[in-house]
Symmetry: C2
């Protein structure tokens, strides 16, 4: 059998950097979300690009699936080994290779996490802004085209990856892009690999765009009487071009959850969490402008967090909201939805979703990167309650249909993995999805790179 032959050969080359221990296989077959365990046949821990190239060449010879693995924080089971094979864990490729302060870029190995990078950057006056909440690996964040709370100001991984080193499906090493800020030199391979979820190759180095640490930062929470009031304040802010650095929605159920989990005492109303970055005067001006917009929509006054530790606590509360929501019902798992619509449709999308969840008898607190038109309902399920699971799946399905109807996408930032594969054809149309399959076929003819994901099944 191909996989076993590959593993035997890999073991000879990699020695202790390959494991088949049951606990490690299970760890790599598990998901943060609600998907069933799907372990790989082996896990390898390469230490260099050359290790990766060699292991891919071995796997290619034996048609053995190869699945990249970063911090394991993806939410749609992107890393699960649905056809078995070898998980490539980048834990030991975790070096920051070069900080170019003058050019505001950095080159890292894929296993570096965003928090590790920012820790290392602290003294440089620069930072890497993309913040999906979880302390994800940068290779994983590129592969899922991650974004998060700061995308409204700094963009997503798409906007912040300048160049890549990639090991192709045949085990060759290529470089895409350069450290120049722009180029018109041919097909944009960099942005073909960003978001490809490891189906076209494995990212072994990333050159990322950095940003200057803002001179001043201030954060605030603002309660509103209703979710539409809060959303309309956001829409106004986006439309006047207010450069908020973060603008996040938590509905009342989410507030209940984070209050309990983070020991906070926010009023039991929908909230916006905001952050402003800039000069002292710019931050003050932005905050004042937003204050006026908020008041226009019945905003109930700001609670400011100007001290660094208060801001840290505020965003830790937001980042932990997913775990807080899971604790609303101990033992529950979650179906995490992730639709994104044009901002003009956001109030409708959230309104309809809330009404639908209420009617379906589901607990589904809503959190959103609302400045991008992106939000999540965290649908709590008791996996032993088949009826509840079915109702949650149906509500999730209706959310996606709602996004499509409103001109949006089935995933703003979590990606496709297993959970959204069934929507690819509907979102892109048969011809465009087939085109993705043709690209995959051209770049990975033996279908070894994370097979079973993202593109139409091979005949």
């Amino acid at each position: 059998m191909g996989i076993q032959d590959a593993i035997a050969e890999l073991q000879a080359v990699l020695g202790e950097a390959l494991t088949r221990s049951k606990s490690e296989l299970e760890q790599h077959g598990r998901s943060e979300s609600h998907f069933p365990l799907t372990p790989p046949d082996a896990v390898v821990y390469p230490r260099s690009t050359q290790d990766v190239a060699e292991l891919v060449r071995i796997c290619a010879r034996h048609s053995c699936p190869v699945i990249g693995f970063g911090a394991g924080t993806s939410l749609e089971a992107q890393t699960q080994a649905v056809q078995g094979g070898v998980a490539v864990n980048f834990r030991d490729m975790r070096r920051i290779l070069q900080i170019n302060a003058a050019d505001m870029d950095v080159t890292v190995q894929p296993g570096v996490t965003r928090e590790e990078l920012n820790e290392e950057l602290r003294a440089t006056g620069l930072f890497f802004p993309v913040d999906p909440g979880a302390n994800a690996s940068l290779g994983g964040m590129a592969s899922t085209r991650a974004s998060g709370t700061t995308a409204v100001r700094y963009g997503t991984m798409r906007d912040n990856v300048l160049a890549l080193e990639v090991v192709t499906a045949s085990g060759e090493v290529i470089r895409t892009g350069s450290r120049a800020r722009k180029s018109s030199a041919g097909y944009d391979l960099t942005h073909l690999f960003v978001g490809a979820e490891g189906t076209l190759g494995l990212i072994t180095e990333l050159t990322l765009r950095l940003h200057g640490q803002p001179e001043a930062v201030s954060s605030a929470v603002c309660a509103f009487d209703t979710v539409p009031d809060a959303v309309n304040a956001v829409i106004d802010a986006v439309q006047i071009g207010l450069p908020v650095a973060r603008i996040e929605l938590m509905d009342t159920d989410s507030v209940i959850a984070v209050n309990a989990y983070s020991n906070s005492d926010l009023p039991l109303k929908p909230h916006l969490l905001l952050e402003f970055h800039g000069s002292e005067s710019a931050v003050a001006e932005q905050a004042e402008t937003f204050g006026e917009l908020a008041r226009d929509h019945g905003g109930l006054g700001f609670d400011w967090a100007t001290r660094a530790e208060d801001r840290k606590a505020l965003w830790a509360m937001r980042h932990n909201a997913y775990y807080a929501i899971l604790q609303l019902r101990p033992g529950a798992r979650a179906i995490v939805t992730d639709i994104c619509v044009p901002i003009s449709a956001l109030a409708d999308a959230i309104d309809e979703t809330r009404a639908d969840l209420a009617q379906s008898g589901l607990t589904g607190p809503i959190l959103g990167h609302v400045g991008d038109g992106n939000f999540h309902a965290i649908l709590l399920i008791d996996e032993s309650d088949g009826d509840e699971v079915r109702r949650a799946q149906e509500a999730s399905h209706r959310m996606v249909q709602r996004a499509f109807r409103l001109g949006g996408t089935c995933t703003g930032e979590h990606g496709i993995g297993i959970g959204k594969l069934g929507y690819m054809e509907e979102e892109h149309g048969h011809t465009a999805w087939t085109m993705m399959g043709n690209i995959k076929q051209a770049l990975d003819p033996d279908n070894i790179m994370n097979p079973g994901k993202l593109v139409p099944p091979r005949n």
Copy 2:
């Protein structure tokens, strides 16, 4: 012969929307730059996406090359019919289909030019910022991944195309992306077509990101004693994150040319041309900050253009600089170079280039979008002087080698066309360029979409 059969069939379907008049063929085989005439066999003027789909299906059946054509302002002969075939001129697909002011986006047909779009947007408070100088078509700008004077603030076409409608090489119609601001749903087909120079399909609709018209705008010119002084002021501005909207370099030779052409009287020294966008107070703060930086590098004081007509005159002067430089030597043509390097290498790149041109005895005024690390030397040539042409080609070649050595690209914004095809393998490496060829093969197996461009020749 395939091409003639295709044309006969196209004529039956398109009637007067197809022409073989010699003047029109020559107009479509000409380049703004120094490339020899290469006319197509016919020119067609489709009126709809369905026209485009039908004509591509006809051409596909007869293996007849199909070359998209917008305003004909590309500089590397992207639209020249190097293997004959049919030029598809989008002159009659020139409608602005939908302005979504609330979402700050617009959907247009590919023949709309950037000036037409901004004229139409004037009353909305929004504008489309990408400004390559020429009044290019938006379809062409997407296809070459154009940028220009405002990219330092608003990004390039890559950053401002949200979604596309494309007619594929088999004459099917697909849509890529959506009006949602972000998505993680599969391969980024939008950004595969942006910059593909019509080699993968024809863009028949574009959804573009718009930006709010700034509350206040001010422009300035600032003279410096030397080019390195000017460049170092730019580098400082970029490194402190000053959000200049435009920051352009003209060296002394360029100033001589624009003074003569635009009847201006700038001092005969290197200049930076700047523009600031924002609130009244932000613009004032930015201008003051830049003033300090300029003084640090010997800047000789600002000449402000705060009135709209003065700003218009200033940027018209900059936009006409290419024609002004051509007039330095009436009858001359130009080899227009276009390298882009990391900003920390910009002073070296320009310095070495100036020394090289002086030593080569060439006239080559330098203009640059220096905030992006991108600049052009306009190498004037008398086409009948073989020695001068050779020296200019060699100097252009050395500029590209210099860009590669400094971590940059052979083209910041003009694209590949014919002029840079010979550098693709060196810039990307054999494997990555082959990968581009494999993508082309997968999406255009019969090689009818702008054949002979961008990817390795088929065997």
